[in-house]
Amino acid sequence: MTRAERRWDGLLFVAPFLLLYLLILIYPLLRGVWLSLHSVDLFGDGRFVGLANYARLAADPVFGQSLVNTFLITLMIVPVLTVIALALALALNRATRSAAILRGVFFSSAVLSVTIVTLIWRFVLAPDAGLLGELWTAFGWEPLPFLSAPNLVLPALAITTIWWSLGFPMLLFLAGLQQIPQDMYEAAALDRASKWTTFRRVTLPSLRRTTILVIMLQTAAQLQIFGQSQLLTAGGPSGASRTAVLFLFETAFGRWELGYASAAAEILFLIILAVTLTQYWLTGRAREGEDGR
């Protein structure tokens, strides 16, 4: 078999995947770009408007506010989620029965649908009859209106999301921890390294790649946050919790403005791409000369 024949054979093997990839990912992506250049609803062919949708978005304060909200909530969620998931993984990385049970307990929230999660947290956050409201009242304080005060609503959504999303990053960290060779810890013990030093000099550097993965995955996921905002607050009060994807949903399916919603989707796509690539580039530079796991 010649080299060229081998290459064709290889292509044939990946052809089914490539075909599906082109059909269900690349084609919709390009179609979305094309739609974003049109004024079109869900039924009509529409008319070509060039970059008018993008110009409208640039001047739309509701879209601007939704982007700011999305960045803020991502910043509230990702660092805290990463630290808590790492702490839990460290605490539960042992072969005991109680650790196994607790791993299951902490992962359990991840299997719930967003509808159930928001229902549970509504019972916690509602100021009049919610768990926190009752607690506050028991202490003689005025309950905090988590879902109706503009400055509290994003932290409330962030807490809900952290509780819901904890399971998967914790598992990633656990997998990372279990791949660290035991001899490194033995060497550290021989050097009489303290627990903190061992964590800082052995565990953390060994988890560098896992940490980067968790941060990148969570950043991309939280920039697309939707269900919590739609179900808990409907984007309110006064748009204070409207996220970019909720804006897309309302525009496409409430107002039927498919072209305008597609333009907003393209901007969000570019933002997620830029943030992810920047993180990758920054962590790549910092990693030069080091070898993490």
Binding site: S39, F43, P127, S148, L232, G236, P237, S238, T251
Partner: protein, 435 residues
């Protein structure tokens, strides 16, 4: 051998797609929930309760009484319009759909709904028999686009026990205000004597409630909310008067500001406020509470249309209707749809047990309807009810924006002028883009 097996499998697959009987099949899509486990086989409508129970039993009864027709039901999550839109875009819509009157113009403007006069005529239904509110709700440019089934809208649900404590009862009836000044006087008196808010407002995640108050009292003052079908105008002296009124009420602590719908419902049922403005759909649940000894609402419940505060006594209302999406159909299917219309019209009273006001004036006036709890009080809704003009499209999205801005005004997050100006700007911007 393999070929034979494939051929058998293909034949089986194709065979399973075909209708297995010679009935005329009608594909009906509805919201109102799924309760097949409880009502799946029942046909006794008089024993069914709630929207889901009654509509499920009605369809079962229709199928039982019309052996040559089979209504196949697809239940969708409320309100189900994204799914319907996708079905229409795929040119495969159902034959009958439950639709809110405010949404009909979106589909009718695109030619996606059939005008229903031919079906009404075949069914022997005269549009003059509808209540004025129901007739208006399904009319677009002089054509009827649905069989109206009810009128629903905002009502003032009153805790008469607390009203008694506040000294606001006369002859066994709660005294409702007849002017903005009296409203404030009553609300202050209520709070002083009961220590509770006069008005329970659901302002979190519920734009419809705030929009309903604004629409109702702007209509009462004779202010056109849509001077043209594609132009909203709520930032007017009349609109600001309404927004300022509710804003002042909330700022004084006479109305709640941090509740979502479930919290507001729970607060009303637990006797934590005097009035809860919400829709006809809550009458059944509140009435049941009022008939259950030991509950805070026991013997303490009454319900009325929004009080007459300015100008004309009107109320912003909507309605549920049965619509027929445009698609190719056989004459037998059209006949079956007409029979379904006739059946549903004949059972309009049964549907009215849900709390919604019947679409037929004769049913509203009938003694058996009037004998239902609270129905005498809410019957005027059929004549004072007003819909937005049928030519206005995207009414649901408009209500979302107007309600969001009105809530911001009520809670003091924005000034009334800014909130209403933002509502006008946001709505008019997207209405200007309509195809």
């Amino acid at each position: 051998m393999m070929r034979l097996l494939l051929a058998v499998l293909a034949a089986l697959a194709l065979g399973s797609c075909a209708q297995a009987d010679d009935k005329t099949h009608i594909y009906l899509q509805r919201f109102f929930g799924e309760c097949g486990a409880e009502y799946g086989g029942r046909t006794d409508v008089s024993k069914a309760e709630g929207e889901c129970g009654i509509v499920t039993t009605l369809v079962n009864k229709f199928n039982a009484e019309n052996p040559d027709v089979q209504v196949d039901v697809n239940v969708i999550a409320w309100p189900g319009y994204p799914q319907l839109t996708a079905q229409m875009a795929a040119r495969d819509p159902p034959d009958l759909v439950t639709m809110h009157s405010g949404v009909m113009s979106d589909y009718a403007a695109k030619g996606l709904l059939e005008p229903v006069e031919p079906y009404l005529q075949r069914a022997g239904i005269n549009a003059a028999d509808f209540t004025p509110a129901s007739r208006d709700a399904v009319a677009i440019k002089g054509r009827a686009y649905g069989l109206p089934w009810d009128t629903h809208g905002g009502l003032y649900h009153v805790n008469t026990g607390l009203f008694r404590e506040a000294g606001l009862m006369r002859g066994g009836e709660p005294i409702l205000p007849t002017s903005p000044e009296e409203f404030f006087a009553h609300a202050r008196q209520f709070r002083e004597r009961t220590g509770k808010p006069y008005l329970i407002q659901s302002l979190v995640g519920d734009p419809a409630g705030a929009a309903r108050s604004l629409y109702t009292y702007m209509m009462a003052q004779g202010a056109p909310i849509f001077p043209e079908p594609d132009r909203l105008r709520v930032n007017t002296p009349e609109g600001r008067r309404v927004a300022d009124f509710f804003r002042r009420l909330t700022a004084e602590g006479l109305g709640t500001s941090n509740m979502d719908t479930p919290a507001a419902i729970a607060a009303f049922m637990n006797g934590e406020g005097g009035i809860y403005p919400t829709g006809t759909w809550m009458i059944g649940q509140f009435q049941e509470e009022s008939e259950t000894p030991g509950r805070p609402l026991y013997r303490s419940y009454a319900v009325y249309p929004f009080p007459h505060l300015w100008g004309e006594h009107v109320a912003s209302v909507g309605g549920h209707a049965w619509v027929v999406p445009a698609r190719e159909r056989t004459d037998k299917q059209r006949q079956a749809i007409a029979r379904f219309f006739r059946f549903m019209a004949a059972h309009n009273y049964d549907w009215a047990r849900t709390g919604h006001l019947p679409a037929f004036a004769a049913v509203v006036a009938s003694p058996r309807f009037r004998a239902l709890p609270q129905r005498d009080n809410i019957a005027p809704l059929g004549t004072i009810g007003r819909s937005l003009p049928g030519t206005v499209q995207r009414q649901s999205a408009v209500e979302g924006i107007v309600g969001e801005e009105m809530s911001a005004a009520i809670t003091g997050q924005k000034s009334s002028t800014r909130a209403l100006a933002d509502a006008d700007r946001r709505v008019n911007e997207f209405l200007a883009e309509l195809q």
